[in-house]
């Protein structure tokens, strides 16, 4: 689904990723953990195609129409239309644009690409309400401007709502647990789990083990200094929780 080979990437002239390798197959959930500054957010921004981040060498391949395809030359919106999704660590506020209009524009942009008929506002409203129920979101959110006056937890739920609307095949969740209390985290995790299928895959980036109690990963990676320095099963996350990262870095 996603294959990253020997990836070197920079932001503002600083090389952050230094030989990252990662392969994610359909049906898998991977966790990427690591201390601050290890390159976790750079990793997610590079894969999503943020214009300030550049690939110096190596490659990123996404499965498109059954073929592993290098996505280096693709714009962020082309990647999204091909089934890639990034849940932002810091969701962006967009004043004046109602959440419902934004979601519908996104749904129709992705849908059109796959030959799915566009939904008008009334049909879309019915569709979105079923998705919001899963995330226990109040209907009032869709009338408000995107992420404006949303609490931290509401913003994160809104990210997962977008994921539910776009139904991506490959998603990266960038510290979706940060800023969430335990109850919100359970709801968000439930939302994420309800989207797991044999046909899609996820990479969950997190600082803490606690999210992984609710979203159970198949494989855990430790990212340090721009590279994966250790890969293991779910037990690795628990080990990090108990012992910290120092024993891995030495």
């Amino acid at each position: 689904m996603l294959k990253i080979k020997d990836l070197y990437a920079s932001v503002n002239g600083n090389q952050i990723l230094k030989g990252l390798n990662l392969e994610v197959n359909a049906g898998e959930v991977h966790a990427v953990m690591g201390p601050n500054g290890s390159g976790k957010s750079t990793f997610s921004k590079v894969i999503a195609g943020h214009p300030q981040y550049s690939i110096d060498s190596g490659c990123v391949e996404l499965e498109i129409n059954g073929q592993m395809t290098d996505i280096k030359g693709m714009t962020p919106d082309e990647r999204a239309r091909e089934g890639f999704f990034l849940a932002f660590q810091y969701p962006v506020e967009i004043p004046g644009v109602p959440t419902s209009e934004f979601l519908r524009a996104a749904y129709n942009a992705v849908g059109r690409h796959h030959g799915i008929e566009a939904l008008d506002p009334i049909d879309f409203d019915a569709f979105i309400r079923t998705r919001m129920k899963v995330l226990q979101m109040d209907n009032k959110y869709i009338d408000r401007a995107v992420n404006v006056d949303f609490s931290g937890g509401e913003k994160k739920r809104n990210e997962i709502l977008q994921m539910a609307v776009l139904n991506p095949r490959m998603a990266i969740l960038d510290e979706t647990d940060s800023g969430l209390d335990v109850d919100s985290m359970k709801i968000v995790a439930h939302g994420v789990n309800s989207l797991r299928t044999r046909h899609n895959a996820m990479v969950v980036i997190t600082h803490y083990q606690r999210l992984l109690d609710y979203i159970k990963p198949d494989i855990v990676h430790i990212l340090y200094n721009g590279r994966i320095i250790k890969t293991g099963g779910p037990g690795l996350a628990l080990e990090v929780e108990n012992k910290g990262y120092d024993w891995l870095i030495k």
Partner: protein, 268 residues
């Protein structure tokens, strides 16, 4: 309502017996109109205009919503003018919008002559190419406890240029005046220009006044966020522009007119 029309001038006189809230249409024939709203009466007036001069008289407690869409045509020029006199407790809601032209200017002057008068004065420049639009507002607080609220916004694409000069005068006797003015501008691309100049002259000492001007560019983080959801860059820019204009468009109270103006601007 009585209407008297000559080739040169339309005269509307709106009384309390007039049809409630039917939109009165101004006809654009490059001439002038006088709108006289009698005491306690309410009116909604709208027009698609070019060169024009509109005079408004609001008697005590009168209410008027006036929407002027000024169109010069591609590459054309025009000058429009609005002069309003407000008596006690009258309410003006003025909305001006233009796509600009080679040289499009509007002069708006409001005299708040009666205590408790209120004015909401809004404008929108939606410019592209090498178009230019200038709005000059002059609000004269001549009586106590009067309130004015101005919001002007502009979208400036390509090499277009938007100008706003807003003057507020608070006379010595106009105590407890509240006067607010805000000019917000969004430049799309690198070559646009905005000139915003607020001018306040305050001679009373117990007043609340504020003014501000903001000039910004399209936020690239917002664009990236929208793109990350599959929305192409051009559509993302459109969405942000619409979002930026939403609050000023929302100042139009009359639902039908708000929709009409929104459609005309391609916002709906």
């Amino acid at each position: 309502m009585t209407v008297e029309s000559t080739d040169k001038q339309q005269m509307f006189r709106i009384s309390r017996r007039s049809m409630p809230m039917a939109v009165v249409r101004l006809v654009d024939h490059g001439a002038s109109a006088v709108i006289h709203v009698e005491a306690g009466a309410e009116a909604v007036v709208a027009g698609i205009l070019s060169d024009s001069s509109v005079e408004v008289i609001l008697e005590e407690g009168a209410k008027l919503e006036l929407v002027r869409v000024v169109e010069a045509g591609p590459g054309g020029s025009c000058a429009s003018r609005l002069v309003v006199t407000q008596a006690k407790d009258s309410v003006l809601r003025s909305f001006y919008v233009t796509h600009g032209g080679r040289m499009v200017s509007d002069d708006l002057s409001v005299t708040m002559a009666g205590e408790g008068a209120e004015a909401f004065i809004n404008g929108l420049h939606d410019l592209s190419g090498s178009e230019r639009a200038d709005s000059h507002t002059h609000v004269d607080h001549a009586a106590p406890s009067t309130t004015s609220n101005q919001l002007y916004k502009s979208i400036v694409r390509d090499q277009a240029c938007s100008g706003f000069l807003g003057r507020i005068l608070v006379r010595r006797d106009a105590q407890l005046t509240r006067a607010y003015q805000l000019s917000k501008n969004m430049i799309v691309g690198a070559a646009g220009r905005v000139e915003a100049r607020p001018q306040l002259e305050i001679f009373a000492d117990d007043v609340k006044c504020s003014h501000g001007a903001a000039i910004g560019q399209i936020d690239e983080e917002q664009i990236f966020y929208l793109q990350a959801r599959g929305i192409a860059r051009a559509a993302a820019v459109d969405l942000l522009v619409r979002g930026f204009l939403q609050d000023v468009l929302g100042q139009i109270r009359h639902d039908g007119l708000r929709t009409e103006v929104g459609q005309r601007l391609g916002l709906l």
